[in-house]
Amino acid sequence: MDRTLSFFETPSSPGQKGARAWLLTTDHKRIGLMYLWVVLFWFFLGACLGLLLRTQLMSVNHLLLSAQTYNAAFTLHGVIMIFLFVIPAIPAILGNFLVPLQIGANDVFFPRLNLLSWYLYVAGGLLAMVALFTKGAPDTGWTFYVPFSVATQTGVTLSVFAVFVLGLSSMLTGLNFITTVHRLRAKGLGWLQLPLFTWSVYATAWVQLLATPIIAVTLLLIIVERLFNVGLFDPAKGGDPLMYQHLFWMYSHPAVYIMILPAMGIISEIFPVFSRKSIFGYKAIVAATMGIAILGSLVWAHHMFVSGISDMAVLVFSFLTFLVAVPSAVKVFNWVSTMYRGSIYMAPPFFFALCFVFLFTLGGLTGLVQGAAGPNVHIHDTHFIVGHFHFVMFGGTGFAFLAGLHFWWPKLFGRLYDFKKAYAGAVLLTAGFVMHYFPMFILGLKGMPRRYYTYLPEFWPLNFFEGIGAYIMMSGLALLFFNLLRSFRGPRLAADDPWGATTLEWRTSSPPPLENFATEPEVDAYPYDFSALARKAKAAVKI
């Protein structure tokens, strides 16, 4: 068979060669892959920092890091993982690569802006590193709370500016995706025929667009305070430090939905494919996705229950927090119901998706414990919080990212990986994960605070146990990425649709040609209709 040339062989403008073909490309697929490598680099760095923190906490007395270094290490771990990994990972890598494919478009609407976003992302990361080596690593935690962030001598100004640049990149990506989904859908592809991953990236894009400017201005204010001493957050000058927290969380809470919504989109793609059954409640998932995007913007102050806001505000925000749990729960029920009477076909992506549902549900339920006004006072700023957000951010978004990477790897590179190693890696990762993060709930309830370089001796056994979990987890991650990278040794042999999926990205070759589709794809009335596949399978059996 005559294979169409993939985008790897054709640069986006004729005549580009070698590195130029990548660095000056406007092809959304190449840009997606460039994001992949940079994001993975930061993820690796962030994970190593995390492991360092855990190693420190494995013993009470023999300190690996000084208190100041420990503060710098957890700040860096947070900043890298949040701003350089979790926020961009799914939208910028998989969203970039797949949204145009899923809607039958040639590219995103603003291809050059897309490339600019990548450069801003890279520049933001580099700036953060420059800040680290010139003025000393910031020790404020990733939240940059005033007054400390204004007073500390470490390189906060430059780090905050780096985050500002990263925010700009994320915002422009969001702008690009919204315009793309509005203007570039293939003929006949209506809103309620869009694949759910595209829907979730679209909802995320709105949150990116509307929430990011708030953190942009908040971070600008920190810079202004540090340079000009205006005093907008300084009580001595009539300001109020609490307002910083409000502004910060007005972005940063919606930002956790920037992190989780695309993850939910991936899971919504994987469940129907491996259950060979249409997704349960397509419209409910769409409504829940948009509902989370809207409600998620109204719950920010639940990070501030003990900061001195009024009881009335606590009750209102607590109520809203419980409300936002509803659409998330709707999705979990939808995924689980999709499997009911389906024809389950087990493969690594599906295994990751199942782990996701388990871990995300645990993370979500512990979130409700914190959302309730009473218990929140008890567990605020303890390891319970650390456990909770690692369950949702890593157990949720991280696992969904891995699921998506394993699901679309053949589409990205035209190569399949070894299933056995993928399973083994996934089991190690999940087991290590639970060992690592679950004890944090217990420690938190017992009162172990977060962000301290040491702790009371009675917390030692569980901390030591967590450390072992962390090492198991890292070995799982290492195995998974080793396995994925090893697939590059073989030729590009993956089928166009190795999983028997139905959405448009599987109708083109793996990897896709330069402008995505050799012939314009035919759009189905419904994206998760497996009847044609079932007929084909039946016909094959008869022969």
């Binding site: 609407f109 509307l210 708030i214 202004v224 300001g239």
Partner: protein, 198 residues
Amino acid sequence: MHANTDNEGSRLGMWLFLYTEIMLFGGLFVLYAVYYNRYPGEFSAAGRELELAKGALNTGLLLLSSFTAAASIETLRKGAKRAALGLLGSTVLLGLVFLFNKYLEWSHKFAHDIFPGSDTLLKGPKGETVFYGLYFTLTGLHALHVFLGCAVLSACWVLVLKGRVTGERMNLLENTGLYWHLVDIVWIFLFPLFYLIL
């Protein structure tokens, strides 16, 4: 790369960008609302200290510049390139006069020892310190936007002159016009919030 001929799409992108600008200023407006609620008397006392005449003049200048920006787009659409260039040029000029005016206002305040962290402000009532903190931050951020707007408008002027932006291909100019109107409308809110508080 596909040729981007979908004007409506690029307009949509521009509108989305304008939303982000509104949210950017929105964060500061939230601060204003909270602090005004806390110090209403001191805010209006400090507001009376500002130079109303200069503020009003600047409002007039920006409104006029919005008109010339819109008019330049319409004249270019009708093919009158010279008139369009004149109108566009006067938009930039009005913007620059606005900035100059703002500079005079700020330096007056500086001369009276009113600037962030100055002794007069530190000794005065807290509400006034916050008022001036917001005043300098918000008008400063706005001035930055006026400056950027002038830069982009000047770039458009050159492109119109060179015939790269014409009546048939005026996407860039139209979007720049939208941006300029945003800069204008932000000022329309800033003016009463700082100069006209009762």
